[in-house]
Subunit: 110 residues, 2 copies
Amino acid sequence: MKVKSKIWLEKNGQTVFGSGRAQLLEAIGKLGSIKEAAAKTGISYRRARSYIKLMEMRLDVPLVYRTIGGEGGGGAELSKQAMELIQNYRALEKGIHNAIDQKFQKIFCE
Amino acid sequence: MKVKSKIWLEKNGQTVFGSGRAQLLEAIGKLGSIKEAAAKTGISYRRARSYIKLMEMRLDVPLVYRTIGGEGGGGAELSKQAMELIQNYRALEKGIHNAIDQKFQKIFCE
């Protein structure tokens, strides 16, 4: 038997961040394009845009900047707040998964 | 912002226990009836029976015994294994929620 867990962040009862959204933002940071990041994380461009818009609205911070021009005709990059959010969420997740595994071993396996 | 979490147990990649199933078994233990427990936890009798059957199959232990006769024409009671599973799951959940809240405070709020 294994323990599984999911962690997400809510604000005023609405989801503002979680594993899928973290993956999407990370991919945007890496690929410099919402379109490519959406494809990589297996969601439509439309849904990716909607996620970003909702996160920005609910958190009231800019997360993704559109860049104009350059090779490929412009792209996207992460704001400082987005990078901080990803970093904090990943740190939380990592600490939690370790704590859960330890507690599970202690309660179910000893 | 608040952190939310969900914890469940899997065996061979299949869910065997979680918050909904814990509530169902707890209600059976309290009410002595699968039918009443299903109603209390907001699922159909059919779904409750199916959850119990799948949990018993996947965990390979008896969880609910049907009792025959008596006032009301028989009912249901929990096995020792079911009581232990509920207890362990609730202990895991409690420990984890505390750990998550602490980590969240530390990472996001300090």
